[in-house]
Amino acid sequence: MTRDELLERLRKPGPAGLWIEPLLDEGQIGEVTTDLRLGYDFLVSIMTRRPYIGFAREDRGFRSVTSYFQPTRRELGERFVLYPGQVVLSTTLEYVALPSDVHADLLTRSSYTRLGIAVNTLVQPGYRGCFSVELFNHGNNPVELVVGAKMFQMRLTKLPGDLPYGGVQRKYFGNVRPTPSRADEDKDLPRLLRIGRKR
């Protein structure tokens, strides 16, 4: 989508509308991409006594994925240090409502990619929420991030038709903060684990 197409859809009611709230600076909207900012809620991965994160709920010692993460919040302008090798879940500052015929790609801006932080996420048409970002520092040095910094860029692509995103049955619906993985809620898992046990 071009800038003009995006601006035409911005804040338009109905399924074709695009909402980016808060859009602190209309200058964030570029010709091809829109800059998005680092959000203020983080889930920091922590070491536990378990040797791995498991998904088999019936295993003795199974722990919810949530227990491997610690929440922490910041205010706009405050800092967050991302250490090498650390996984931190966060979101964009902006809550985005995508039109039902547009999907988004979210990538880190090159200033941050060059520091070893790379994000590449596809967001479905009709999505509602702050975009989830999985921050990982591939570099050798801790990097001090600033809440609200334009860390990401969103590229919008128009599809030929509408796609219904779905409601609460989607795993990550209307998110305003990072949520841990729900991989253990995969409906196929019990079947797969049964297959695995029978071998």
């Binding site: 009611p13 509308g17 909402w19 709230e21 808060p22 602190l24 203020y40 929440p71 922490t72 919040r73 910041r74 205010e75 706009l76 302008g77 500052l93 809550y95 409502a97 509602r128 702050c130 609200g148 409601g167 609460v168 049955q169 619906f173 209307g174 998110n175 305003v176 903060r177």
Partner: protein, 349 residues
């Protein structure tokens, strides 16, 4: 334990806290001032009376508890943001609001610093004290991401304003409990008057949300020694919001006027959140009155959604899912308002 021992232990813990990276400058200032006061008391010669030391230790303990809570970095900033506006309309001094998540079910709001006590009792302490006051808020941990469930804090703010200005005490001085009421009920009636004030104070900001909260907590609660029956409280709130005049309201307004405080009046504006929330996105709040109005708007929307008259997204959703989503949208609406304000106030020179 012995108060001096407690102060020694608190001094150690405060020293650790003083080096935490999680404090803003204002909290650092208060923590350092607390350390200086504690050091002074422990080393003063001749020493202060044990009763003064004991009471100071209690206060430092409380302050320490909240400062420690402030380091967890899980504060519900959104609620703090709303309350700061309300607080500024009633207290003239600068205040720093900080929240601790608690394991209790109750909310509370109180002055968290011991500076009044220090000024009044430690007559040999000569260092400057912070100019701002610390206000501590306690929020049940389970509600940290459910701002609509936290409008009880406006009720607690009402108690706080009452105690600072002795509003209900003034009303009792001018208009005491009817002499016809048996003596043994006077204390309860006085307590009821305090509760009604706090309820009406809350209603000034969050409108019917405070009545909805009371109804949700325990609609059938009867009279106790400290609290009127829930229905009576709700009826009074609704009368106030309907613009009716009644004797108790006149007592409060008269007392507030005599104490040089603002009157009880509606200070909220209900934002039209339906279009945004039906579309599962936050609403753009305009101004402080809409900020407070987010609470009654949110409660109304929540009730409608839970009872089956909500938007398409709520069809098939569980009660808890609806509660979470509506609260999340309310939280994000408030947070976005805060972000826009911070951004606008700090433009480049």
């Amino acid at each position: 334990m012995h108060p001096r021992t407690d102060l020694e232990l608190l001094k150690e813990s405060l020293s650790d806290l003083a080096h935490t990276p999680y404090f803003n400058r204002a909290l650092e200032e208060h923590t350092q001032a607390l350390l200086d006061v504690v050091e002074h008391v422990l080393t003063a010669s001749p020493s202060y009376d044990d009763e003064i030391v004991r009471q100071l230790a209690d206060k430092v303990w409380t302050t320490h508890r909240y400062l420690e809570g402030s380091t967890t970095k899980e504060s519900p900033y959104e609620i703090e943001y709303c309350l700061r506006f309300a607080i500024s309309e009633w207290l003239t001094r600068d205040c720093i609001v900080t929240t601790a998540l608690t394991d209790e079910k109750d909310f509370h709001l109180r002055i968290g610093d011991p500076w009044d006590f220090v000024e009044t009792t430690l007559d040999r302490y000569e260092s400057d004290l912070p100019q701002s006051r610390l206000i501590f808020i306690g929020v049940p941990r389970l509600y940290k991401s459910l701002p609509l469930f936290c409008c009880a804090l406006y009720h607690e703010l009402g108690h706080f304003v009452d105690q600072m200005g002795e509003v209900t005490e003034t009303s009792l001085l001018i208009s005491p409990i009817d002499a016809g009421v048996p003596e043994q009920f006077h204390q309860a009636m006085e307590s009821f008057r305090r509760e009604h004030f706090a309820d009406l104070f809350a209603a000034c900001y969050v409108g019917s949300a405070i009545a909805d909260s009371l109804d949700a907590v325990n609609p059938d609660a009867g009279m106790t020694l400290t609290h009127p029956p829930t229905q009576q409280r709700i009826d009074l709130i609704r009368s106030f919001l309907a613009g009716e005049t009644f004797q108790e309201l006149e007592f409060y307004q008269d007392a507030l006027k005599r104490r040089g405080l603002p009157e009880l009046k509606c200070r909220f504006d209900i934002p039209a959140i339906e279009a945004a929330f039906d579309d599962i996105r936050p609403h753009v709040l305009e101004g402080t009155e809409q900020l407070h109005g987010m609470f009654p708007a949110g409660w109304s929307y929540l009730a409608k959604s839970i009872h089956g008259s909500g938007a398409a997204w709520s069809v098939g959703a569980t009660r808890l899912e609806i509660i979470r989503i509506v609260n999340d949208l309310a939280e994000k609406s408030i947070r976005n308002a805060s972000l826009r304000q911070l951004w606008a106030l700090n433009h480049d020179a």
